[in-house]
């Protein structure tokens, strides 16, 4: 049972960042801009968030400090995504190319910033943020150990982001307009909506969430940031597609991917899986193969926003 709880607790640490970054992709793509730069934005968010923890790790109480780091990560991700927004919205650039440029820039910049400003490429921080057990809730049998023990505040922030995203996209005027810009921007334009503004909003929210996702991935799983987020930005793209561009489906997709990641990372320590004798590479590649299969089946009536990747052209019908 201990092992079971351990796996569940570990799973959250993969699921939450994956979900947040996939939601980041959701906002951008729903507004009509492909954001392949999620990986790069995660890196920038993690870089500045972790740098804050490295320099001012004991400025305030641990939880407050973590929240400040989260804000810094989100804002820096947002600023970085502005580059992508400018190129793909105002300059009508090819969105995949501009995203690729950001992805090349970010890891190099992380090394550069680390060496130059902090004097080390491997930015370390003290992990003081683990919550042994949430008061009262952590004592509930069965549910307590699964959800409220050995956890991080980021888990609950992530769940909150999920609900806020859903409400924002489906229950507000803003969300309706954003989605319209991703489906048929000319129609939105003729209804008096500024497509440019909505797309900027989409990409900036995307940057905010991806930056957050970057630090939320690094903090629980490591005590060092070494200019990498291990391809989670690209994995999040897969989660986004697996989740068919819908918030709650994205949550379940992230759950599946996160669970497979956990199994792959811990399969040597789980007696049941060791007995099965399946090499861990299988667990590693199953999420990707599953995504390919899902893609093949659903693409005929794809749920992808119809205008994604197309620069907005007012005169087009």
């Amino acid at each position: 049972m201990e092992l079971f709880y351990f796996i569940i607790q570990q799973t959250w640490m993969f699921v939450i960042p994956l979900m947040i970054v996939a939601l980041a992709g959701l906002f951008s793509e729903r507004s009509g801009v492909i954001n392949i730069a999620l990986e790069g934005i995660m890196l920038i968010g993690a870089l500045f968030g972790v740098s804050y923890l490295h320099l001012f790790g004991d400025a305030f109480s641990p939880q407050l400090n973590l929240i400040i780091a989260l804000i810094i990560a989100g804002v820096s991700g947002m600023l970085f995504s502005l580059l992508h927004a400018f190129a793909s919205i105002h300059m009508k650039a090819d969105q995949t190319i501009s995203g690729t440029a950001l992805n090349i820039f970010a890891p190099a910049f992380c090394v550069f910033f680390g060496r130059l400003i902090l004097g080390t490429q491997q930015i370390s921080f003290d992990n003081l943020f683990r919550i042994e057990s949430v008061p009262i809730l952590g004592d509930i049998p069965f549910i307590g150990p699964m959800f409220f023990q050995n956890t991080y505040i980021t888990t609950f922030i992530g769940i909150a982001i999920l609900f806020v995203s859903y409400v924002l996209l489906y229950k507000t005027k803003f969300g309706l307009r954003l989605r319209a810009c991703g489906e048929l921007p000319q129609a939105a334009d003729s209804a008096g909506i500024s497509v440019y503004k909505m797309r900027y909003a989409g990409v900036l929210i995307s940057g905010l969430l991806a930056g957050l996702g970057g630090i939320i991935l690094v903090v629980p799983t490591s005590t060092i940031f070494n200019a990498t987020v291990a391809g989670y930005g690209f994995l999040a793209l897969a989660v986004l597609i697996f989740g068919q561009w819908k918030p709650f489906k994205i949550f379940f997709a992230a759950l599946f991917f996160g669970f497979m990641k956990t199994i792959a990372a811990t399969s040597n320590a789980i007696p049941f899986l060791v007995a099965l004798g399946i090499p861990s590479v299988v667990y590693k590649i199953v999420p990707y193969i599953a995504t390919l299969i899902v893609l093949a089946f659903v693409s005929k009536n794809s749920a992808a926003p119809r205008a994604e990747g197309e620069p907005f052209d007012k005169g087009k019908r």
Partner: protein
């Protein structure tokens, strides 16, 4: 002369040059910011360092250019046919593994053809790795960018596993060295470019550049593929089998990237597949090379050498205390600017159109 100046090709060339200039200026700013006292020496080292080393420097530049010319050709060829092949890292590494496997284990082959068979294996496996995105695009209309990204990670994990299973050097946690007969012959190039490890790989790369140029510009096959890239509906209406063309384009692109992997890991100069969970950087560099070379095979050849030159120069800069990652920052700035170049081109076209209109008005 004037006519030539106003061609699309020339305008594209100009916008590439502008992008490069902006990227270099950006790099200079960062260098100055890092260490003002050494900035000029460092920047000069980046720009002329490899040339100052004479034949050795040129040899090194050519050697590092081999893989990125191949992956650049892969991306560029796919671009010409309307596909974005971001799957080069996966195709590159699976091709590399195939070459290493044949190079280590198939020693029963005669020495003269061993290396050729190993390269052929890389070529074929790289092509096979790209079949999946091709089929999915042709028959299920799945965006090839997404499926290629999935194939990249599948390839990376699978190659790590297969290397451990079949050609593992446990002492160093990397692949075993290939048999000497599987190493690409040097053909005296390492003597001409003394001090470098240049081999016949560069000749193969040049042959591929020419081959792709001929296929794209001088054959019906290439014409059909370009037609599909420009407008798939029109191509279908004209009786072109666009499904077949999409698959073929992906396979050729994948094979080129796979061959690039073979050329690197059969060079016999200290390159081994190490077990790391990082996508092959040569693959992503191919995207930069293709973008900068405007997807034209000849352009790709030169942009591959240019980026390789910057990389060698960046390594030289280390002696002045600069990190080689500055080169990546410069390249990303160049790519970003070339993404914006559409706007520059629209601007140039508009100016031209305005001029014409004015002339018309005057005449009327």
């Amino acid at each position: 002369m004037k006519k030539w100046l106003s061609t699309d090709g020339f305008r594209n060339f100009i916008s590439s040059c502008v992008a490069i200039a902006i990227g270099l200026v950006f790099g200079l700013i960062i260098i100055v910011f890092t260490n003002p006292s050494n900035a000029l020496a460092g920047f000069l080292n980046l720009l002329v360092g490899p040339l100052e080393m004479g034949m050795m420097g040129i040899g090194r530049v050519l050697f590092y250019a081999i893989p990125i010319i191949m992956t650049g050709l892969s991306v560029g060829f796919a671009f010409k046919t309307g596909l974005f092949n971001i799957g080069t890292p996966g195709q590159f590494i699976t091709g590399a593994f195939a070459a290493v496997y044949v190079g280590v284990h198939w020693t029963f082959l005669p020495a003269e053809i061993h290396w050729l068979v190993a390269l052929l294996a890389a070529f074929i496996v790289g092509g096979l790795w790209a079949v999946v995105p091709g089929l999915m695009k042709a028959y299920f209309n799945v965006n090839e960018v997404i499926s290629s990204i999935m194939m990249n990670y599948i390839g990376m994990y699978l190659v790590n596993y297969m290397v451990k299973l079949t050609v593992f050097d446990e002492m160093r946690s990397q692949s075993l060295p290939v048999a000497t007969s599987a190493e690409i012959p040097k053909m005296g190039l390492d003597q001409i470019f003394r001090g470098s490890t240049l081999n016949a790989g560069i000749i193969i790369a040049i042959l591929m550049v020419v081959l792709i140029y001929v296929i794209l510009n001088k054959t019906k096959f290439g014409f059909e593929m370009k037609a599909c890239g420009l407008n798939a509906d029109a191509a279908r209406y004209a009786g072109i089998n666009e499904k077949k063309n999409i698959i073929m384009a992906m396979v050729i692109a994948g094979a080129l990237a796979g061959l690039g992997g073979g050329l690197v890991y059969l060079s016999g100069s200290g390159k081994f597949i190490s077990i790391v969970e990082v996508l092959a950087p040569e693959g992503f560099n191919g995207i930069s090379v293709a973008l900068l070379g405007l997807s034209n095979p000849i352009g790709i050849f030169f942009s591959g050498i240019f980026i390789s030159y910057l990389t060698v120069g960046g390594n030289l800069m280390q002696q002045f205390g600069f990190i080689p990652e500055i080169v990546d920052i410069i390249i990303s700035a160049i790519i970003y600017c070339s993404a914006l170049s559409l706007m520059i081109k629209i601007f140039l076209n508009k100016r031209k159109a305005n001029k014409k209109n004015k002339i018309k008005e005057v005449k009327e």
